[in-house]
Symmetry: C2
Subunit: 408 residues, 2 copies
Amino acid sequence: MGYKDFIDLSYKPKDDIVCQFRVEPAKGISVKRAAEMVAGESSVGTWTDVSTMKPRIKKIGARIFSIKGKNVKIAYPSILFEKGNMPQILSSIAGNVFGMKAVEGLRLDDVSFPRSITNSFQGPLYGIKGIRKLLGVKKRPFVGTIVKPKIGLNESEHAKVAYDAWSGGIDIVKDDENLSSQKFNKFEKRIVKTLKMRDKAEKETGEKKVYMANVTADVGTMLRRAEFVKDNGGRYMMVDIHTVGWSALETLREANDDLKLVMHAHRAGHAAFTKDPRHGISMRVISQITRLIGLDQLHVGTAVGKMFETKQDVLNNCDALRSNMNGIKTTMPVSSGGLHACMIPALVKIFGNDFIIQAGGGVHGHKDGTVAGAKSMRQALDAAMNDIPLKECAKKNKELATAIRQWD
Amino acid sequence: MGYKDFIDLSYKPKDDIVCQFRVEPAKGISVKRAAEMVAGESSVGTWTDVSTMKPRIKKIGARIFSIKGKNVKIAYPSILFEKGNMPQILSSIAGNVFGMKAVEGLRLDDVSFPRSITNSFQGPLYGIKGIRKLLGVKKRPFVGTIVKPKIGLNESEHAKVAYDAWSGGIDIVKDDENLSSQKFNKFEKRIVKTLKMRDKAEKETGEKKVYMANVTADVGTMLRRAEFVKDNGGRYMMVDIHTVGWSALETLREANDDLKLVMHAHRAGHAAFTKDPRHGISMRVISQITRLIGLDQLHVGTAVGKMFETKQDVLNNCDALRSNMNGIKTTMPVSSGGLHACMIPALVKIFGNDFIIQAGGGVHGHKDGTVAGAKSMRQALDAAMNDIPLKECAKKNKELATAIRQWD
């Protein structure tokens, strides 16, 4: 069948993975032809007819069932996939196809997984509901920070910065994505010191506080470090999902049945393949996959701030994390990158209440230091939750007033 | 320091990871300014000055030491990195930076790792030399095939196609990147049957034959499957490196100290981030990383065939795999995608002798079937090695003659 016979516009997907691609064909090739090549290469075809083909195999090929302009929908029968094996699924639907000469650009915009596939993944252990229960926060969004500078503080300095942030009202303190276990800041020592400060901050503020320890490494090391976090009373681990990879994440999630940590996903590197709307994989698809595997929290962009994504992109990502997915628990969206207190009302309007607002520079860059920066974040959040204009609220809150003077 | 103070044009890199980026700044931003933001975000900076910065930390920041047009070289002191932790290294040098608004496009073109970093990775167990020794082939390139159709054959059919290919003269038979363990073709059963056929083919041809079994899955499953291959007399495993991820590959490589299998890297999905020369990560960098972690063989493009890369791209990739790298063993380049016998002389001119020529459709799509397709490949290779024009050689070799009629 070479790359032929993959179109069936009358087909209604049933037990199929449905992919929505945007196809930018190479010069001289039609969208339809390029789509056929994509459907073939990603299922049972290759560039030429093969003598080893069997009639029954033709029947399990991918089916293009919709072509609208450059938007093409392809259904892949679930039998093509190994259940619970995300790398195998992606090697099919998001594999060789990007490298074909026949497409100038190819974008995997959206995926819908049938129940036979979603059932084979674990999904988040906590989800948004579980995280709210664990932290005892019913309605408002969470405020978080990243310890800054990104890298270079020693373990005690790190713990002190975290403590200051918690004291000022921050719920969640996160390691930087670049920090794992360096000479000047060893993982185990950092975890012990920082969790001790967390306990102190909890006692003093009467609030539950979270430390997200970055376990990013090879699999054996990640598992040991996650266990270490658990043994020392930690409740969260964080991991850089793209530089670690899907295989390790499945394994980490499986181990988390025992560890029972909340899993936070940082997405360092994603924009190498999500940024160009004409090529690569959308962050919406990454959101779906991350949720399916079972991470509880995921960075999805800011709409404002230093990252590139539009409001619509961010809403698409949030939808993938929070809407119904055959009973898979939800994943909490995290907004992070160039944020500060003054952006909070706009963020709450975009994201709603079920999300985390993370500010690194926006907390530690506050003119009066980390505690003041943290306070300005909580003050701005209170204002947003009570529909009070920031400037109004700033009259009684000097930290917010300073943040406004500094950044607005 | 916000995103300032990251330029030092007089700096000479020593114990640094040196990255060559191509920077396409966003509108209204200079290359220099965009480069500073990249260097800051990927080391110790963020979008604003932070109160928690220390003078000693400024000193370990990244240094831009060369700006030529849009090409920027940045040196990262090795202290910023956790040795042997590729995910952490990539979260720094190939992490958030791609998503910054300040860059319209950002391409990581090349990386050079200092000895302190290369020493912390295992590198290939075999390398080109070890593979030649294992297979008893001194000089010529290897010819391989992928079982086709990509997916859908049962275990016995799969083994039979492999046997036919080996009988016709193919050295290496590879699972398709989409095939792992599906309902219609279970991993264990396939391995047993295919390795049995390999033994038969070896006995009949007097040549060493290779079966590359695709272990792509979560980490636990991969390790179990690799062990199964070993226990059943297999010598190779293959893995889809990008859909599996770097963390799992490090763990698999570590386990391979005991397994002692040759590790073959398929790169399904790479082109989502390698295809656009103005954005993402080059395949040359992927080649460097893959070699450092320790895969013995890697797909690097075809220059001809169905994949997009140019001859220069492919040569850059081969150079990354085969040139000196602080004593790390070499990785064998694999050329695969839309190839057939008629392309072999051109391929040998481009790649030299140390590589694998893989043809799927080019073997099983031969008009007279798989055995004939395999023969045509070996005949073309013999011609290329002896500098005989293909048409000359085809006079005495009907399989090659048919391939020429079919495809040339």
